[in-house]
């Protein structure tokens, strides 16, 4: 396993001390970025091939370029730190262990797109991460890495830290904007997209924590180096949150050529008690179950797409043969029914009907039409919901039934 990039400082530095971050090369990328024209930074991020690590895998440089081209001001840089996808904890580990990197990345983003204000929206239940980020912002401001005229340049950038209040849907970018604006966190209809109408209706770059953590290394080492770190169609390092029935659950950094089997057996120490995999939920509750015969799939966007799954946030939840899969599916169905925000009907109604059917099936009363009905609900939610929550709310249930041998198409 190569030297980690994203986790390089985690566990080795005191995350509350700016001196430690500086001693490990911190803020060098910002220093260099400030000496360069904003367009050249945007070009470099584009050339690196970095795509968003929050789940949607949108090219980061393309987002930045769109906002950089907007002439309307003010513009904003928002960090989506509302990590709530079940089974995902990589952003928390980064924020708790290396909070200054986010601050540095956001200041670089601000310079690149012409924004002078940034918001970090941290999940409400992430108390320690919130404290660490707040401390990092204060320390960086005190030392002149944030604020007016950063490092005596003509670039200014201020960061506000917000705390979520317990709503999965706020991880959806437009719902997150609504939340910061003091409203119920319900997603907006898109288009318009955040690059033109984001926070407070202004051009906004919104990036996930892990995505931003890649920025300083790209600025320091260049796009070619970044591309050399992974397979051709999936550049850069990736964090995987591996949990469930494994011996060593945790966050692991690997190139996206890594297979699911390698993550489970080599990184996470194998299935507990020498047991066997029954199913693996890849990508969190919004993700897809894979069966024991599908473990050799590469954990990249294209690799997973070939087996009908998606990388999403990089969550890997391992279910061994001791676990009652019905209990797992019931929890997932309950989760979506609870977290649906109620704004659009396909999701509001679909997640409820899905829960009712799964609950009945789990109690042993399975009807012939159940699978067809669930497929119909899933298709309706996928086609007609306005945000990713509803669009993915049926995936885990249907794929879980498939792994159990119940949905044979």
């Amino acid at each position: 396993m190569a030297e980690p990039v994203l986790l390089r400082r985690v566990g080795h530095v005191d995350p509350t001390r700016l001196e430690d971050y500086l001693a490990w090369g911190g803020f060098e990328a910002l220093r260099r970025a400030l000496l360069r024209r904003p367009e050249s930074i945007v070009d470099e991020v584009k050339a690196s091939g970095l795509v968003g690590r929050g789940g949607a895998a949108f090219p980061t440089g393309v987002k930045w370029e769109a906002v950089a081209r907007e002439s309307r001001t003010p513009k904003y840089v928002v960090c989506n730190a509302d990590e709530s996808e079940p089974g995902t904890f990589k952003d928390r580990v980064l924020m708790e262990g290396d909070p200054f990197v986010l601050v540095e990345a956001m200041a670089i983003a601000g310079h690149a797109v012409g924004a002078e204000e940034g918001y970090i929206y941290v999940r409400g239940e992430y108390t320690r991460a919130y404290e660490r980020i707040k401390n990092a912002v204060e320390e960086a401001t005190r030392a002149g890495f944030l604020g007016d005229h950063i490092l005596d340049s003509d670039v200014s950038f201020h960061v506000h830290v917000y705390r979520g209040a317990g709503a999965y849907v706020c991880g959806e970018e437009t719902a997150l904007f609504e939340s910061i604006e003091g409203k119920r966190g319900q997603p907006r209809q898109k288009p318009p997209f955040p690059t033109t109408h984001g926070l407070f209706g202004r051009p906004t770059v919104i990036n996930n924590v892990e995505t931003l953590a890649n920025i300083p290394p790209i600025v320091l080492h260049g796009p070619e180096w970044f591309r050399s770190l992974g397979p051709e169609d999936a550049p850069g390092p990736k964090l995987y949150s591996v949990s469930g029935a494994v011996n060593a659950p945790g966050v692991y950094e690997a190139p996206m050529s890594v297979t699911l089997r390698e993550l489970i057996e080599e990184y996470a120490g194998g299935v507990r008690n020498g047991g066997r995999v029954q199913a693996v939920l890849v990508g969190g509750a919004a993700g897809t179950f894979l069966g024991p015969k599908e473990l050799d799939v590469p954990m990249s966007f294209s690799g997973l797409r070939k087996v009908g799954a998606a990388l999403g946030s990089g969550a890997v939840m391992v279910i061994d043969e001791q676990v009652d899969m019905w209990e797992v599916l019931l929890r997932l169905a309950r989760f979506f029914a609870h977290e649906s925000c109620g704004k659009c009907y396909p999701c509001q109604l679909g997640t409820q009907r899905q829960l009712e059917i799964v609950r009945r099936m789990a109690s042993g009363r399975i009807r012939y039409q159940d699978i067809l009905r669930l497929r119909d609900i899933q298709a309706t939610m996928a086609d007609a919901s306005i945000c990713g929550l509803g669009q993915t709310a049926g995936n885990a249930i249907l794929s879980g039934l498939r792994v159990m041998g119940l949905d044979v198409s």
Partner: protein, 162 residues
């Protein structure tokens, strides 16, 4: 539930600090106020609405939307047991059961003395420490059912000595 006495002075200080932000200050304002008052009563909500110049209906709308904002009284200590997939796979049911037995209440309920509220919670993002338990801001994991009485005993002591 004992009658709540609100420290209005501290509440007003928080409101005054967020007032310049207007509506964009609503969420952090409510979060900070709740840290003082424990929950967001209609009386407290009216104060926030007036201070931030946000319609009261919208303040209620926000409070009822977020699961960490409480429109009803809750215990001084909130016990959150993660019961999502990875915690379930690692035995969270045993932890839920131990909490029910110790507190004598069901998830969603508050003990009659107003000390504890029990909640089962969707993924808390500490899956490497499954099964995971959060008591107010303190983190425990991996926990076993047999650890629960000791953990909650300590919290009882802590609240009584405050």
């Amino acid at each position: 539930m004992t009658k709540m006495t609100v420290d209005w002075q501290r509440v007003d200080e928080v409101i005054a600090r967020w007032a310049p932000k207007g509506r964009a200050g609503l969420l952090p304002c409510l979060e900070e106020v709740q840290e003082i008052t424990g929950w967001l009563s209609p009386e407290v909500s009216r104060r926030v609405a007036a201070g931030l110049k946000v319609p009261l209906a919208d303040v209620f709308g926000v409070i009822t939307f977020y699961s960490l904002l409480y429109e009803r009284p809750v215990g001084r200590v909130i016990v959150r047991v993660c019961d999502d997939v990875s915690c379930f796979v690692n035995g969270s049911q045993e932890v839920v059961q131990a909490c029910r037995t110790y507190l004598g209440i069901e998830p969603g309920e508050t003990t009659p003395d107003g000390m504890f509220t029990l909640e089962t919670h969707p993924c808390l993002g500490r899956c490497e420490r499954a099964p995971f338990l959060m008591v107010n801001d303190e983190e425990y994991g991996p926990v076993r059912g047999e650890d629960v009485p000791r953990i909650l005993d300590a919290w009882k002591e802590r609240v009584r000595s405050e």
